[in-house]
């Protein structure tokens, strides 16, 4: 079966476009935002969308468009940052478990099982409760602490199937050390599935951050977050729909883009999913 071309994969291209727009807008938010996202002065509270405020204003009279743009930076930074840290931990754990096997493998994988035995957001809420007061920094810590499991399993699986391959055996026969084999021969060959898992992970991190912030257990004012904005939206749902609609729509589009990108990558990189 021919390798499908990335340029003809509709879902992948849509994902690339969405993520591209999301990333560009987040990076350029300071230049794009028409107002200071925290400035209260000069505007009516809960103003309907208008020319001056295309997405309206919130309960304190702050410009929603500016806030949605700035909060996108937070969402992207948390989604990506958490995933990078979690992937490092997951790769290390999966690599050690798969490479050494035996007791190391059993201990690490049983630990992974236990973390995965909790519904993720519920354990995240439980971990947040350990801290005296909530905040975005705690969200990052908690999501990293829980986010490495899938990557670890993917890495372990890849290592198990790779380490019996000839080129790895050859490297060992030539006297390559454990670390060399892991870094030079195993890791690069596992990159495909890892990239897929990490991309999907970025999307779940973004949703988890928004969810925790929505519940009041994440970003606290004045830190901007789509989730925290949606908590306001919930309060004013009956009187001011725009406060609830726009931050959520932004979150949806960003997550949708990341998920399409992840699905597309899986189709393109993982032979089992080629149609």
């Amino acid at each position: 079966m021919a390798r499908p071309s990335a340029l003809r994969h509709r879902g992948f291209l849509t994902g690339v476009a969405f993520v591209g727009v999301f990333a560009t807008v987040s990076v350029l938010a300071p230049a794009l935002a028409p107002y200071d996202p925290t400035a209260l002065a000069g505007a009516t509270t809960l103003a309907r969308p208008s020319v001056a405020h295309p997405l309206g204003t919130d309960a304190l009279g702050r410009d929603l468009l500016s806030r949605v743009l700035w909060a996108g930076r937070v969402s992207l930074a948390v989604g990506l940052g958490v995933e990078i840290l979690a992937a490092l931990i997951g790769c290390a754990i999966g690599m050690l478990a798969g490479y050494y096997g035996g007791a190391v493998d059993a201990l690490l994988m049983r630990t992974t099982d236990v973390v995965m035995a909790f519904p993720s957001l519920v354990l995240a809420i439980g971990l947040i409760a350990v801290f005296e007061r909530p905040g975005l920094d705690k969200v990052v810590i908690v999501l990293v602490a829980l986010g490495w499991t899938t990557i670890a399993r993917v890495m372990r699986g890849a290592v198990l199937s790779l380490k019996a391959r000839e080129h790895v055996q050859a490297a060992r026969a030539l006297g390559a050390g454990d670390v060399t084999i892991m870094v030079r021969h195993l890791f690069p060959n596992a990159l495909g599935p890892l990239l897929v898992a990490a991309t999907i992970g970025v999307g779940s991190n973004m949703v988890a951050e928004a969810g925790l912030s929505f519940l009041g257990l994440g970003a606290q004012s004045p830190t901007l977050s789509w989730g925290a904005m949606l908590a306001d939206g919930q309060t004013f749902l009956v009187t001011a729909w725009w406060v609830a609609v726009f931050p959520g729509a932004a979150l949806l589009l960003a997550v949708l883009g990341v998920n399409l990108l992840g699905d597309g990558l899986r189709d393109l990189l993982d032979p089992r999913f080629r149609e």
Binding site: G11, R110, T111, D113, V114, V115, A117, F118, P119, S120, L121, V122, L123, I125, G126, L127, I128, A129, V130, G203, V207, A210, G211, F214, L215, G216, L217, L230, G233, Q234, L237, V238, W241, A244, V245, G248, L251, L252, V255, L256, N259, L260, D263
Partner: protein, 314 residues
């Protein structure tokens, strides 16, 4: 044919032991870290020193941590999860009170996601690659990507605030009209997953050789589908119900908060804000147990449906 179930069944149950041990150990550690001095946390800063001492002895708090864990575990096994700081009554009682609402919501959401998801997936599988297929699978990705709490708010905005067909939020003393919006919100995420899985497993099954054989034998098409396709398509569908359990448990705290639904999820969220730690840890553990036992049920369903899984000890 079910006679050879005994050994694999025992295997599954045995594999559960380290996981259950791990779950309780993790909750115990969280509890210990969060509370600092549990006796003082429970009795307050002004507590009588003698009463504190008595409590420490009763809960083995003056002993090493492993002893504390065993003592605590003994209580948990007897259904004692401690006292709620805020309500001054047993955590178990507080949680059990909230369980029926959560179960009602979860069952309704599951039914919605299975009925809608299987219908969408089957329709999409009729003509793969068609516009209908693309539209349905697009809707599925959209459902998977929509944050459950935002979807809840949007459903509420359209059907409650604007159209006035259904109540905005609340439990309504069990009035089914109050259940509709939260159940759809919670079910939507999973509907997408069910639809995708149904589509791909149906497409997979109809391609198999035994389907050709069955047709070649002269069996009628409905009989082929019923006898051969369905049983084999059932395996992934059971998997998907298992995955759905995770979605339900993760979505419950959010959905229940949006709709002011008096379930365990909202209890958990409120308990974190009020720093009622015994309730937090109790609820976290109940969620984990439901999840683990649910997955066990899925495993057992496999054993019944798919004889191949009875071989192999894992």
């Amino acid at each position: 044919m079910l006679g050879d179930l005994g050994r694999p069944l025992a295997g599954r149950l045995l594999a559960l032991v380290p996981v259950l041990f791990g779950i309780t150990l993790l909750v115990f550690i969280l509890n210990a870290v969060a509370l600092g001095d549990p006796a003082r946390a429970a009795m307050g800063q002004r507590a009588d020193p003698e009463a504190l001492e008595r409590m420490r002895r009763e809960y083995a708090l003056d002993r090493p941590l492993p002893v504390q864990y065993v003592t605590w575990m003994g209580r948990v096994l007897r259904g004692d999860l401690g006292q709620s700081f805020r309500e001054q009554r047993p955590v178990t009682e507080v949680i059990i009170e909230r369980l029926p609402a959560t179960i009602r919501l979860a069952v309704a959401a599951t039914l919605i996601s299975i009925v809608l998801g299987v219908a969408m997936g089957a329709l999409a599988a009729v003509r793969p690659g068609s516009t209908l297929d693309h539209a349905l699978m697009g809707a599925a990705v959209l459902g998977i990507s929509t944050p459950v709490f935002w979807l809840g708010m949007m459903l509420s905005l359209v059907f409650a605030v604007n159209l006035g067909w259904l109540p905005v939020s609340g439990y309504g003393g069990g009035d089914p009209r109050y259940l509709v919006l939260p159940a759809f919100a919670l079910g939507a995420l999973h509907t997408g997953t069910v639809a995708r899985m149904t589509r791909s497993s149906l497409l997979e099954v109809v391609r198999q050789d035994y389907m050709q054989t069955a047709r070649a034998k002269g069996l009628s098409e409905p009989l082929v589908l019923a006898k051969h396709a369905f049983r084999n398509a059932l395996i992934p569908i059971v998997t998907v119900i298992g995955i759905g359990l995770a979605d339900l448990l993760v979505g419950a705290p959010l959905t229940e908060t949006v709709f002011a639904w008096p379930g365990v999820g909202r209890l958990l969220v409120a308990a974190v804000s009020q720093r009622d730690l015994p309730v937090v840890m109790g609820a976290v553990m109940v969620f984990a147990l439901v999840y683990v036992l649910g997955n066990l049920a899925v495993d057992l369903a496999y054993l019944v449906i798919d004889p191949r899984t009875r071989r192999g000890a894992s």
